[in-house]
């Protein structure tokens, strides 16, 4: 377990703070080799710390690190938010969304897929047109990403269905929406633009994994409520009032069971 280490060399810490501050600052301009350029005072600072090479000046050598840092993160953001990329195209997505977001949200997690976690909320702080819809679509993009890393927990034992608490598997996600944004998302990915506004109506959706594919479908409001209860954990006896309102309970449970949506292990905090 953690052992007390010798002190961190002060000069190492100071250098890393300096390096981090510069590479995470947005790229303003680049030269013909696409290496970022810097203002005269920053160039002086870099020349004090970075050695030149036979072919590159100190600031050019440092610029390669800044270029690599931004290119990597922007490319991950493009992969994480394909719907927003389809709406804006790559250049505008980078300029309006990825770059300003990353400038104010330096990654803090070893898991690179988490770098966009705060983007949906951040969108609401911007003056980008249709930001509420964009936020919803960004949340859907993140949900698809989340599903890739969702585990499959052991199924419940049939004999314990009535008395034991059952939970929804982590690969089943529920959404209450003002329209079917999943279908809209599919349309955007296909057409590469934001379609005309759709009719608004309360919509209940489920996104889930089946045979290593991500699938979605609309749910009846009662079924949605039932699944929501299961997400928090419930035994069948507690669900009777809701089950009585369902049109075809046996078919519903056949579907849930064939898709392996239930487990006995808690998947979220109650």
């Amino acid at each position: 377990m953690p052992k007390r280490l010798s002190q961190i060399p002060a000069s190492l810490e100071a250098m890393q703070q300096w390096f981090a501050r510069l590479i995470t600052s947005p790229i303003v301009e680049t030269d013909g080799d696409q290496i970022p350029t810097f203002s005269p005072d920053v160039i002086l600072d870099i020349r004090n710390k970075i050695a030149p090479s036979p072919t590159l000046k100190s600031e050019e050598r440092f610029g390669i690190y800044q270029q690599q840092y931004w290119w990597r993160l922007i490319s991950v953001m493009q992969d994480l938010f394909p719907t927003l990329v389809s709406i804006f195209d790559y250049e505008e997505f980078n300029r309006l969304i990825a770059e300003p977001y990353l400038a104010s949200h330096i990654p803090h997690d070893w898991f690179i897929s988490n770098i966009g976690a705060e983007l949906p909320d951040w969108l609401m702080t911007t003056s980008i047109k249709n930001k509420r819809l964009l936020k919803e679509l960004a949340l859907l993009d993140l949900a698809y990403e989340q599903l890739l890393f969702a585990n499959i927990l052991p199924p419940p034992k049939a004999a314990k269905y009535e008395t034991e608490t059952l939970y929804l598997q982590p690969f089943v996600l529920l959404f209450e929406m003002t329209s079917d944004l999943f279908s809209l998302r599919m349309e955007i990915l296909k057409e590469k633009k934001l379609p005309l506004k759709k009719e608004r109506r309360k919509t209940y959706m489920v996104l889930y994994r089946l045979h290593e594919e991500s699938l979605f479908e609309e749910l009846d409001p009662i079924v949605f409520k039932l699944l929501l209860r299961l997400q928090k954990g419930a035994c069948l006896n507690e669900l009777i009032p809701l089950l009585e309102k369902c049109e075809d309970v046996s078919s519903l449970f056949q579907t849930i069971s064939s898709r392996g949506w239930l487990t006995q292990k808690p998947t979220i905090d109650r």
């Binding site: 100190s58 050598r61 990654p107 690179i112």
Partner: protein, 275 residues
């Protein structure tokens, strides 16, 4: 303590794009290397890895340990890393001689360290702790460097050598990185590897790079350059035979072509035997 490990032969860096073809044909590959972080999040990637583990040896290679970072070691990360190491039964585990982390920040890049005596001591101590905790041989990989510091006290190869010897750990030698660093800094690759304790090498990385004329970048998206194969031949001979792995991470070619590129290493090894 530094230990010799088995030579697994020729391998390929396992990437998500490969799964479909591997599961369809189960090709005859000696072994795979995985990027540890790609499988530490669980879910589908881990389920795919479990299928691979049934048929192939797998070695773990990480990118976010940040051994030279001024932030404390991340024990939550290390716990997850060790759990995956137990699952994969990786015979050794490697990461980079770099930093990419500060308290509250992760840069997802392999950033260069100042080549100073005090940094050697600091990194060696952390590397030894990591190896003790993981309970398997731990190797550090040399970086592709694009810059070095004005007040460096030693060359890159001397810095690398002093750390692995002081920590008593292994080396994961990337021969393409030797070439990239040497071209970018303006010195001779032979001088670089002649300075290294090659008996500590337990694995070699091969990869392609992008040549921009005035500088080159380690992009893993081209075939291995002839000059890099030359370094490989020299280094491999002096290691007396260690596991060799081809990394290909962008501008992907077919799995078959990737394997063909990796197999060139086998031909070089045969040539050495008959030379």
């Amino acid at each position: 303590m530094f230990k010799k490990v088995p030579n697994l032969g020729i391998g390929i860096g396992l990437r998500p794009i490969h799964f479909r073809e591997i599961f369809a044909t189960w090709p005859s590959i000696d072994w795979f290397e995985i990027i540890s972080e790609n499988f530490m999040g669980g879910g589908m990637p881990l389920r795919n890895l479990e299928k691979i583990l049934e048929r192939y040896p797998v070695v773990m290679h990480g990118v976010t340990l940040a051994i030279g970072s001024a932030a404390p070691l991340d024990w939550d990360y290390l716990k997850k890393l060790k759990a995956l190491a137990v699952k994969t039964k990786t015979p050794w585990l490697s990461d980079h001689l770099s930093w990419g982390r500060l308290p509250g920040m992760r840069f997802h890049d392999l950033l260069p360290l100042p080549r100073k005596k005090e940094v050697v001591n600091y990194v060696a101590e952390r590397a030894r702790i990591v190896q003790d905790y993981l309970e398997i041989p731990f190797a550090l990989e040399n970086l592709s460097s694009y810059a070095n510091f004005a007040d460096d006290e030693m060359s890159e190869s001397q810095f690398y050598r002093e750390i692995v010897e002081k920590a008593d750990i292994s080396m994961m030698l990337d021969v393409n990185n030797i070439y990239v660093s040497c071209r970018n800094e303006g010195y001779d690759p032979k001088e670089y590897y002649s300075n290294l304790p090659l008996n500590r090498v337990i694995q070699i990385h091969l990869a392609g790079h992008t040549d921009h004329g005035r500088y080159i970048v380690d992009t893993h998206d081209h075939p291995v350059a002839d000059a890099v194969w030359e370094i490989y031949k020299e280094v491999y001979r002096q290691t007396e035979g260690v596991s060799t792995l081809l990394e290909w991470d962008d501008q992907f070619i077919s799995f078959e072509k990737t394997w063909e590129e990796a197999l060139k290493a086998k031909q070089f090894q045969k040539d050495m035997i008959y030379a």
